[in-house]
């Protein structure tokens, strides 16, 4: 088992953003995480990656407890993520941004090696020609691709994607999904979790789905089974199911 959460809770003042969530992700899995807006998906990522310490519960990575480990040490162990709202290092170039991932992530590369890796991953996500541009000048879509390249360059064991595909057109979505699948095979980034509102992307990508609702885990299981479950349909009633 790669990642294990035991009754993890995170509060913001009176609001319980993540409410006693237990979750296990096995090595090699492709997991989808869905849920209405504000159901706690991003907060769950923040607690896993170490942005926030949980108010309760325990977190294990490869069997080792990481509940109180600072974010940068978790990254070194092999956790990487993208941000829902991209967070580029604005005045650095695109290439330097990705190189920073390679240097300080699990890849732990030296400067020269990291810059070479950056070129390779930029090529892979399709924005190689932008590599000398200042990151703050990119379009939102380009920023997302850069974030993906940066996360991949870290060579994580667990990759957490947060609404990476939102705002992309169908061709891009398919291209990125193919890319992620390819990377998973070739680069040995074996385990990927994907938070997404786009149900067709989830159905295409995920083998297993976790549904979040008001901070709690509502249900989890094989993708199609879960998405058609009455409870899930009920939660999404009123919310437009974004299929298609």
């Amino acid at each position: 088992m790669l990642l294990k959460l035991e009754e993890v809770t995170k509060r913001f003042g009176g609001l319980v953003a993540v409410n006693s969530v237990s979750l296990e992700i096995d090595e090699g899995e492709k997991v989808g995480i869905v849920g209405p807006n504000g159901s706690g998906k991003t907060t769950l990522y923040n607690v896993i990656s170490g942005v926030y310490a949980p108010d309760g519960g325990r977190i294990f990575f490869e069997g080792k407890e990481i509940t109180n480990l600072p974010a940068h040490e978790r990254t070194k162990l092999g956790i990487a993520r993208t941000f829902q709202v991209p967070r580029p290092f604005g005045s650095a170039t695109v290439r330097e941004n990705v190189a920073i991932g390679a240097m300080f992530g699990r890849a732990n590369a030296g400067v020269d090696e990291a810059l070479e890796m950056a070129d390779r991953y930029l090529e892979m996500v399709g924005i190689y020609e932008l590599r000398e541009k200042e990151a703050k000048l990119l379009t939102p879509l380009e920023k997302k691709l850069m974030e993906l390249a940066r996360a991949l360059a870290m060579k994580p064991k667990l990759l957490l994607l947060d609404e990476l595909l939102a705002g992309m057109n169908p061709q891009d979505i398919n291209r990125i999904l193919d890319l992620i699948n390819k990377v998973k095979e070739e680069e040995n980034i074996a385990t990927i979790a994907m938070v997404e509102h786009l149900m067709h992307a989830i159905t295409k990508f995920a083998e297993r789905v976790v549904v979040m609702h008001q901070g709690s885990k509502l249900i989890e299981g094989p993708t199609m089974e879960v998405l058609n479950h009455p409870k899930v349909v009920e939660v999404y009633l009123g919310e437009k199911l974004k299929i298609g």
Binding site: G50, P70, A71, H72, R87, F89, S91, F104, V111
Partner: protein, 327 residues
């Protein structure tokens, strides 16, 4: 790839400056003033420029460095010249190291503006510790000229306060530049740039931000201490708390860094050149009004040219054959 070529530009500028200073009558003094301000900017830049954190207590580090050298030469004169000088450099480094570890250890737990607030008291604090505690002569400071003349002779003392002090400062200035270049090309530099742009994201990228900030802070402070030891104690042969803890040096260093371009190698050089020459001639033209002119200048730079001269040039040079030489 790693690029050390801007060092060529840097060394060329120093060579030209030294040549002008030695070759043209009356130019050595303004040139040394320029080099002093370049050094002051370069040392501050390693922290302020690379992390985006403001250290309002900067001048205190020049001050403790100056005291380190003064204490060695003034109180351990009997050790002999070379050992006393060596001890002076060691004490300057050690005091700067201790102060920066303590201040950094406490204040660098704080983010951005809170860090700046915490450092507001550092300069005053150390100054009034010396004054109030009557340490190292309290308000009467340490006056070395008599001691040095008596112990080592007038000739040696003159050599110390002219050639040796100037050479020492030039070495420290160039060393600061070389260290800056090294940092910019190293993992440390990439980590610092990342945390300057977005500290939380930097943490998630695996950067130990506390440690990196502390390293940059300590390096910056030690270089400042060495500047104080050479440019003040050795050159002037006296140290008074009112002089070495004068806040205007902090202002001047910040102006130089911002004017030249924060976080660049050549920024402090260009900023120091512009600033020192401006100051030199302004002082002659409008005595006592430097700060009055400088303060609005700083505001204008911040509002209109936040990237500074070199930041702007480096962008303009991108894609041309000069690109390699500007950073």
């Amino acid at each position: 790839m790693r690029n050390y070529t801007p060092l060529v530009t840097l060394l060329l500028i120093y060579a030209v400056m030294i040549a002008i200073g030695q070759g043209i009558q009356g130019m050595w003094q303004p040139i040394m003033l320029v080099i002093f301000y370049i050094a002051v900017g370069q040392a501050l830049n390693i922290f302020l420029g690379m992390t985006g954190y403001v250290n309002f207590g900067y001048v205190a580090l020049l001050g403790v460095g100056a005291y380190g050298m003064a204490v060695a030469l003034g109180y351990y004169t009997d050790l002999g010249l070379i050992p006393a000088l060596t001890l002076g450099f060691i004490l300057a480094i050690l005091l700067a190291f201790i102060v920066s570890m303590v201040v950094g250890g406490i204040a660098l737990r704080l983010r951005g503006a809170y860090f700046a607030i915490a450092t507001i008291g550092v300069n005053e604090g150390i100054k009034y510790l010396i004054l109030g505690g009557k340490i190292w002569g309290g308000s009467s400071g340490i006056v070395l000229s008599g001691i040095l003349r008596k112990a080592y002779g007038a000739e040696t003392m003159r050599f110390l306060s002219t050639v040796f002090a100037d050479a020492g400062l030039i070495v420290v200035a160039i060393l600061s530049g070389v260290i800056t270049m090294y940092i910019l090309n190293s993992r440390l530099g990439y980590g610092l740039i990342a945390l300057r742009e977005d500290e939380d994201a930097a943490k998630v990228m695996g950067i130990n931000v506390r440690r990196y900030k502390q390293i940059a802070f300590v390096i910056s402070c030690i270089l400042a201490g060495l500047i104080g030891a050479t440019a003040w104690t050795l050159k002037l042969t006296y140290v008074f708390p009112q002089d070495v803890f004068a806040i205007n040096y902090t202002v001047e260093a910040i102006v130089i860094v911002m004017l030249g371009g924060a976080g660049t190698l050549l920024g402090p050089v260009v900023g120091g050149l512009i600033y020192a020459l401006l100051k030199y001639y302004l002082t002659i033209a409008f005595p006592g009004m430097q700060l009055l002119i400088l303060a609005p200048l700083l505001i204008i730079v911040i509002l209109l040219f936040p990237e500074g001269v070199v930041g702007y040039l480096a962008k303009a040079a991108r894609g041309t054959r000069f690109e390699k030489f500007v950073r």
